[in-house]
């Protein structure tokens, strides 16, 4: 079991509400996912050709200042580093390949959770309330957010196996369910040079869809390929720089409820998590149909 959470604010003047509205939904999904939680928030666009890297350090007392100094010294490039406990947001114009290689060599205990112009990722083990407090989720501002509460069923409870998973740039995915063929998907993707960070089934789904999009598919087309390729149960929620997308498998065993008003689109696994949103009583409430693709533009 797991909880999925999505929130997209439709009006730019409401972007400051993103964290305030999202946190009670996340905490409402604690019973479905008490062991880990995480989110991908689509916030301010990074300037020029710079990219945002969300980093996670295994060591809770990691010296981020040392990483900053070392980065400047080795790569000759200035960075902006926003530290939030054992996460940090690094902004640089250097390309992912170079940053990853350098980190791997010099700071093997620091992991790249996401790369993008807009997206930032925070995920960890603990209850949703603990994680929301640790990383100040309440203060998040932005156009949309994809979040998850995890009850692990198929791989270990570790921060890197918490959701969301990311691949490429500004693409994230959370999953409620179990996919039965993640290993055959891996065996298909690895010879194409696609690297996996964990043994988690959701990571295989995330990398499969991102690979399809790099091959030229639209998100919708990639999901059509997903219906044919993915074997198992899933409700998937995805975020791109300007979209929020939701699908359920043909059997629709894993729940989802959508509440939409003129101000927001809110998604949770169960309605009670949405019950306290403003004007939810006037919202259009529905359950997504199996194998139908729902996309909202930010």
């Amino acid at each position: 079991m797991c909880g999925i959470i999505g929130l997209l604010v439709k009006r730019p003047d409401l972007r400051s509400q993103l964290g305030d509205w999202m946190v009670p939904i996340l905490i409402g999904m604690t019973e479905r996912g008490p062991d880990s939680a995480g989110l991908a928030a689509f916030t301010d666009r990074s300037k020029g050709d710079s990219l945002k890297y969300s980093l996670y350090a295994d060591d809770p007392d990691f010296d981020w200042k040392r990483l900053e100094t070392s980065f400047k010294k080795h790569l000759g490039s200035k960075i902006k580093l926003g530290v939030q406990d054992n996460h940090a947001l690094l902004v640089t114009h250097l390309e992912p390949e170079e940053v990853r290689t350098w980190l791997h060599e010099h700071f093997p205990g620091v992991h790249v959770l996401s790369v993008g112009k807009v997206m930032e990722v925070y995920k960890d083990i603990g209850t949703p309330a603990e994680i929301a407090e640790k990383y100040d989720f309440q203060d998040l501002e932005g156009s949309h957010v994809v979040a998850h509460t995890r009850m692990a069923t198929e791989s270990a409870v570790t921060p890197d196996r918490a959701h969301p998973f990311t691949a490429g740039r500004d693409f994230c995915l959370v999953h409620n369910g179990t996919v039965s063929n993640p290993n055959s998907i891996r065996r298909m993707l690895e010879p194409r040079g696609i690297h996996f960070d964990t043994d988690n089934d959701t990571e295989a789904v995330c990398r499969f869809l991102e690979w399809r999009m790099r091959e030229g598919d639209s998100l919708e087309k990639a999901l059509q390929h997903g219906f044919a390729e993915l074997d198992g149960f899933y409700t998937l929620l995805m975020g791109t720089k300007d979209k929020l997308a939701l699908v359920r498998d043909a059997f629709a065993c894993k729940p989802a409820v959508v509440a939409e008003t003129d101000d927001y689109v809110a998604i949770a696994s169960e309605f009670h998590a949405l019950a306290h949103l403003p004007n939810v009583n006037k919202a259009r409430i529905f359950e997504p149909q199996p194998e139908q693709i729902y996309v909202w533009n930010a």
Partner: protein, 227 residues
């Protein structure tokens, strides 16, 4: 009438009240406000009491109901009225998956759509759906009636036993062993009663009857597992 506010009272207190106080004091009407999608609201009630739930409910609302007349003035989550024995459950909005699953008796009325697996393994319950039903509805349904005023999804009535399905709209596909049969006078009478009970104005003649061809009742070694 007793009014219970789920914003102030715990679910356990509400259900204990419905199980014990209502019977002891012969209370006839209970209103539940602020349900806010909580699970198992009014599950296991066994008393002739009218219960109005003002809002949306979560999983298993009115499960195992006996005697009570329960109205959800909103949408119901998965498994509404599952394993109902008798009484009436009326959902004014839509119902999620597995509505009326394994129901033995009583009537379940859903004004809106019902999602997948509506009436799965039903054992005598009557279910009337004002809108559409999702895939695999009435899967392995053993007894009772499923009335669908809208359309039905894929695999309707797969591996059906003695339950009968009436559909007014289109059926996307039949499940194994389900087939359309001619309507009889008895079908029209039963259907008229159920539509009347649900307050729906449709005419029985607008519906088609779907029942089991019973070809799966006995093992057929020559079928080579191809059903």
């Amino acid at each position: 009438m007793e009014r219970i506010d789920l914003a102030k009272t715990s679910l356990r207190e509400l259900n204990q009240f419905l199980h014990h106080e209502v019977r002891k004091k012969k209370i006839k009407h209970v209103e539940v406000i602020n349900p806010d999608g909580a699970h198992s609201i009014a599950a296991g009630v066994d008393a002739p009491v009218k219960i109005d739930i003002r809002g949306h409910t979560g999983y298993y609302c009115a499960g195992m109901n006996k005697q009570a007349e329960i109205t959800v003035h909103g949408n119901a989550g998965p498994g509404v009225a599952e394993n109902m024995m008798s009484g009436l459950v009326h959902v004014k909005g839509f119902a999620s998956v597995s509505a009326g699953a394994s129901g033995h008796g009583g009537t379940l009325i859903i004004d809106g759509d019902a999602s997948l697996r509506c009436g799965i393994s039903m054992k005598g319950i009557d279910i009337v759906v004002g809108g559409n039903v999702g895939n695999f509805s009435a899967f392995m349904a053993q007894a009772g009636t499923l009335v669908v005023c809208g359309d039905a999804g894929d695999h309707l009535g797969d591996s059906l036993y003695e339950a009968v399905i009436y559909v007014r709209g289109k059926v996307k596909s039949f499940g194994a062993d389900a087939r359309e049969e001619p309507m009889t006078k008895a079908d029209e009478k039963k259907l008229a009663e159920l539509l009347d009970k649900a307050g729906l104005k449709y005419k029985p003649k607008e519906f088609k009857r779907i029942a089991s061809a019973k070809s799966l009742y006995n093992w057929n070694a020559d079928a080579n597992q191809e059903y």
